[in-house]
């Protein structure tokens, strides 16, 4: 059970959150301008690093806000990434 630092509510049990996958994957500014492959990369391709990973969490059972943390996938050490 991870202890996840919600920037609004403080550290809370993982059970209160939903995982949102890799962070910093922005919706393309002009999807129509992308090739099928570029669009597929946006839709389906995500990093899977061994080590620090920026990822999104949503505090669904709390303030319902999205935020970003860095989690080390080998140790589960979490450091806050977004400030409020």
């Amino acid at each position: 059970m991870l202890l996840i630092p919600c920037p609004w509510c403080g550290p809370r049990d993982e059970a209160e959150f939903h995982y949102g996958g890799q962070a910093h994957v922005a919706y393309p500014a002009d999807p129509a301008a992308l090739t099928d492959e570029e669009w597929a990369r946006y839709l389906f391709f995500r990093d899977n690093p061994m080590g620090p990973f920026s990822e999104r969490w949503n505090h669904t059972s709390g303030c319902r806000r999205w935020f970003t943390v860095t989690r080390d996938t080998t140790t589960n050490a979490i450091t806050p990434e977004t400030s409020r």
């Binding site: 059970m1 991870l2 202890l3 999807p31 669009w39 946006y42 949503n58 080998t74 140790t75 979490i78």
Partner: protein, 927 residues
Amino acid sequence: MTRRDREVLSFTFDGRPYEGRQGDTLAAALLANGVRRVATSVTLGRPRGIFGAWTEDPTAVVQIDRPFPEPMVQATTIPLHDGLAASSLAGRGRLSPDPDPARYDATHAHCDVLVVGAGPAGLTAALNAARAGARVILADDRPEVGGSLPDTGEPVEGRPGVEWARAAAGSYVALPDTRLLTRTSVVGYYDHNYLVAVERRGERAVTRERVWRIRAGRVVLATGAHERPIAFAGNDLPGVMLASAARAYVNRYGVVPGRRAAVFTTGGGSGDAAHDAARDLAAAGVEIAEIVDARQGGLVTGVRGDGEVRAVLIGRPGGPAREVEADLLLVSGGWNPVVHLFAQAGGELRYDDRIAAFVPGRPPEGGQSVQVIGAARGVFTTAGCVAEGLAATSPPDLPSTVTRSSRESRVPVDASAPGDAPAREDAGPSGEAGAQPLWLVPADDYTTHFVDLQRDVTVADLQGATSAGLRSVEHVKRYTTAGTAHDQGKTSGTLTSAVIAHLLGVDVGALGTTTFRAPYVPVSFATLAGRDRGALHDPVRVTAMHDRHVERNAVFENVGQWKRPRYYPLPGEDMEAAVLRECRAVREAAGVLDASTLGKIDVRGPDAAELLDRLYTNMISTLKVGAIRYGVMCRADGMVFDDGTVIRLAPDHFLVTTTTGNAAAVLDWMEEWLQTEWPDLRARCTSVTEQWATVALAGPGSRAVLAALAPALAVDAESFPFMTWRDTEVAGIEARVCRISFSGELAYEINVSWWYGQALWDAVLATGTVTPYGTEAMHVLRAEKGYPIIGQDTDGTVTPADLGMDWIVSKKKPDFVGKRSHARADTARPDRRRLVGLLPEDPDVLLPEGGQVISTGHLPPPPVPMLGHVTSSYRSAALGRTFALALVAGGGNRLGDRLYVPVNDTLIPVTVAHHVLYDPESTRRDG
């Protein structure tokens, strides 16, 4: 209190009555009664006795019959109580067919320091931390504190050990913010210092067992060590017992486990512990026949006895054996630090040659903060353990972690750091005398040299595994099952690794151990379930009209957490008859459906229209106030995610409905886009599902019914056309009436405050002209009209075009979520599976939902080319026949084709039809 002063308790074992004493375990009471054979082994059917004295015991696994059946419990851990009935097992237990009447619950706890184990090290650490002002939880799986002190009778700081331990515990609990949990096993160590413990509160307690979920600032593991067996021929025979266990039976329980004992020790790790045990047994009146010390070249090569030990064979492998009469053989193969929780936390183990065992090595990283002290890291003297307890929780070490605010960062502590060198010196001569590891006694035949007594795994089995080419302990474990079940490596782990290393000719430290996983001791599902059983398993959501549905004998179906009436059978009606009647009523007169469970989201703000334009495939911003539009949402991959209606209440105010099951997901979806991609949009979304009760009034008679109930409302088609809404009073209740239809009939949805839902329902039915219908009839009616149900007719691979709804996808909007995906080559393929109707050629044959659709009238050899599958299938009153909806490759181009649906051994011929089978011109709906 001596044994004879304790209360007498009656119990039965295998149906025979016995007496034991208060404070006994079942195993202690059985030994006191001379019962030595208590189980039969799981695969070999060999007699098994009592090998250990606590959770390390691998053999005395029994069935509890009364007070409530519980399978496979260690007799060494069952507190004896009056009326207990237990029986022996042959490996597998029996579950009760009845629900467990006992109560189980769970609680959460937070602390600065969690100390696991209340022996000399743990008690000292907990007391010291509490004195420094920390919030402390001390948990120990025994009924009383002191760890092994009651087993050994050793003194501490000049006082009798048991007395010292009670005094220390007394001082500890008197301090503020301390909690002492006895009979509490910490079974799991998870991420970020989250631990799970199970408290066994006893048969008389209101709550029989309680799960503790503990988040600790810091964890101190003082979990002690387990003595381990030696592999020799017949080392599983009842009468063979760990030396420490025999000592525990004598000193803790006042039970003498035999009359004449031999001792077989390697002297490993524990120094003279086996000799101390022999001394204590002798003092209790047990005759010590011989002490065989491997350090002096002595070996026990086997035991003799039919069902239990009668004699011990002493000698050299292959040489002549000397037979020594004895009914008890104490074995001491060294000590294994209890590293389970440390390893679960992610700590690495290292092999320590001095004690021939695995000890904590590199501590875990990340959010764990754990320290191991005392015997759990190989310090085997009482004085050394006390010193470790003090060092672990003394300033300046402590203050950095003693924080009232859990937001402050924690300093990870090296598990082996504090006082590492001094502690070794403290250990002293009797603590860690040069261990001479002896793992197995050489022999020609290894088929009764057991390394795992519970799983019947022998050295011969390990030979088989390594001969088969297995080189990893993990593989050997899975091949032989060594270390599984109750034991979890407690007695078998190090021995198994060492024997495998010996067979492979590698270093045991390099070979390592198997992975330690929770739970440390067995935990029943009833305990984990706690109070989340039966009606409390999941919340049940009911609508404002629920009592009325019950009164009408509705048969309910679960839709998410909602209870929805599926149909309302009249006396003598089955489901088919009821649904046909309800459908006919809607098509020919008027029906009423409780539609309150549909998700409702209030969307407000200057940019609300823009937000909805980006999320729905069609244009929402052009919707006029007072009007309603049907909308479809897609995921970014272009696949249909949800559908519903959007009604515009004001230029900056919308109410959108979702499918019942998707209400929360759609709100989350809107929030995600608003927060993460479009934070500039001024719009807010609020769930109002439970604020509005909704009644769907459908059928050609619905206009007259509404007119009677809402005299102020102009209900004629011109004043109140399809896809508009009006605020009015219905049956005297403030209401919003939406003219929408999910049945294809003239229909209205009447929304009132949830509080008035039942009053509205009653008023509609009081007209006497309206038939209540359930979700099954609703499904049939919408399917006749070709309306898909998201999640039934779709599965996350279906685009709006696949559903025949190209018209819902805007060509004008520059973008909406999913638009780019609709232009992908794959989503533009003409042979995609499309929604079609299927009419079985025999109008009485009902196709099974999920049935595959093929093109040939015979089954070709596999793989059979499959065109698609049936998504919905019903018997229709309006069509006078059965029909189905299906997703079929190239669907629209196959109208009129004959296809086949295999059902069991026959191929059912069907004709492909347009998916709208009822009123395709929508004159009934729009009139």
